[in-house]
Amino acid sequence: MRARVAYGGAVHEARPATGTGRVRLADGRELAEEEVVWLPPLEPGTILALGLNYADHAKELAFSSQDEPLIFLKGPGTLIGHRGTTSRPVNAAFMHYECELAVVIGAIAKKVKRAQALQHVAGYCVANDYAVRDYLENWYRPNLRVKNRDGATALGPWFVDAADVADPSNLNLRTYVNGKQTQSGNTRDLIFNIPYLIEYLSSFMTLGPGDLILTGTPEGVQNVLPGDEIVCEIDGLGRLHNTIRADLALGR
């Protein structure tokens, strides 16, 4: 597993160091994880995200069964690294986190079949894809104002090589708000699993190295407020911290 961090005026590759909460830069320096600024572990190409891809969450939002994946696109400005802060518009009533398994494409995928799909995966990350539901409108859902806000998609801390993830279809996901667990799920419950999604997407669009697929979130989303610390965790991929701040600094 590796991360991108800023430290001492440069961007470095970092890996876990021995001892909890420490990282080791490529040049050998070891630092406490609070000493570095965590960037998203990669600069992605296309960012694709799934809506309602866990049966329990779809039920939570009163959606019925679907015949094809609900996929939307995101831009790069929405990404933020581990230990970042995400702003909550002051007048919003309902903003929630979404813990998701993010799949990083490693090789060009065009008309790939399910059986070969995982050969096109470079690795995985934890993502926390916030939504501000106040802004939901019924034209081109989910509209970008809900789902593509600056700094509202946390990614990291690590990029984990596919070879180090034994079974991506059996990973537990958990979210904690201020230390209390609020969300849990397992990727075995994905309605459309990773091989299916790669076959589906690559049937009409060529996926390239660095493209990201955020595979959706299970039930248990709840409103978060300024000051709340949200931790999204996936087995073997790490714990992604994020803190909510009010948008007051920007006069909104």
């Binding site: 094809e68 939307f72 400005g77 081109y140 509209n143």
Partner: protein
């Protein structure tokens, strides 16, 4: 596509605004107040053309196997020159480096509620160009007219003066929540009804000072 003024290159990030031409809004008026829409859009209706869709003048547009026709939307691409975050309407034009033509190609479908990405995100479905014209060479963009020709016959004329949310207001509303970076493109003004194209035809889009974006349409393989 490169050009000889800042930011010199496009970032490859292309956003589009829909239902922002009066003709397009009028076309949905009869359904807009019924489910699932329940009212006209309030914020800008935006979409993203991912990098696999990007192409240039002269590149073929493939009609997927099993389909007869595609839709094309002539759009004016605003090329962002400097980082645009929460810009004011009054100063919005200062953030535009120049303009280019964008052809937003889609598989025809009637749904604005939650359309599948497979309608707009196919390979080659976003030709752009042929060049980026500097902002000052164009003058007032809201006075531009884009013309779409199919095999040389005029299929549509779309005037930027018919924008529901004029360019400056659109930039202010979009950058209120998402920052646009230098080289990003925000495309505006898809008019309705969208012209349709078939394999064997050539679609070209023109705008004064912007050149001609011409693409042949070919049948796709299985």
């Amino acid at each position: 596509m490169t050009f000889d003024f800042a930011p010199f290159v496009l970032s490859g990030r292309v956003y589009g605004s829909l239902l922002n031409h009066r003709t397009a809004l009028v076309a949905v008026e009869s359904v807009a107040h019924k489910p699932p829409y329940n009212g006209l859009p309030r914020a800008p209706v935006l979409f993203i053309k991912p990098r696999n869709t990007l192409s240039v003048s002269g590149s073929p547009i493939e009609v997927p196997a099993g389909l007869q026709e595609l839709e094309v939307a002539a759009m004016l691409g605003l090329v962002i020159g400097i980082t645009a975050c929460r810009v004011s309407e009054a100063r919005a034009h200062e953030y535009i480096a120049g303009y280019t033509l964008v052809n937003d190609v889609s598989v025809p479908q009637p749904n604005y509620y939650r359309p599948s990405v497979r309608y707009k995100a196919r390979d080659g479905f976003c030709p752009m160009g042929p060049r980026v014209a500097a902002r000052d060479s164009i003058g007032v963009p809201d006075a531009l007219t884009l013309r779409t020709f199919i095999d040389g016959s005029l299929a549509q004329e779309a005037s930027m003066s018919q924008l529901v949310r004029p360019i400056a207001r659109l930039l202010a509303d979009v950058t209120e929540f998402m920052t646009l970076a230098p080289g990003d493109v925000l495309a505006v003004a898809a008019a309705a009804p969208a012209p349709r194209i078939r394999a064997g035809q050539t679609v070209s889009i023109e705008g004064d000072g912007l050149g001609t974006l011409a693409n042949p349409v070919v049948a796709g393989s299985e």
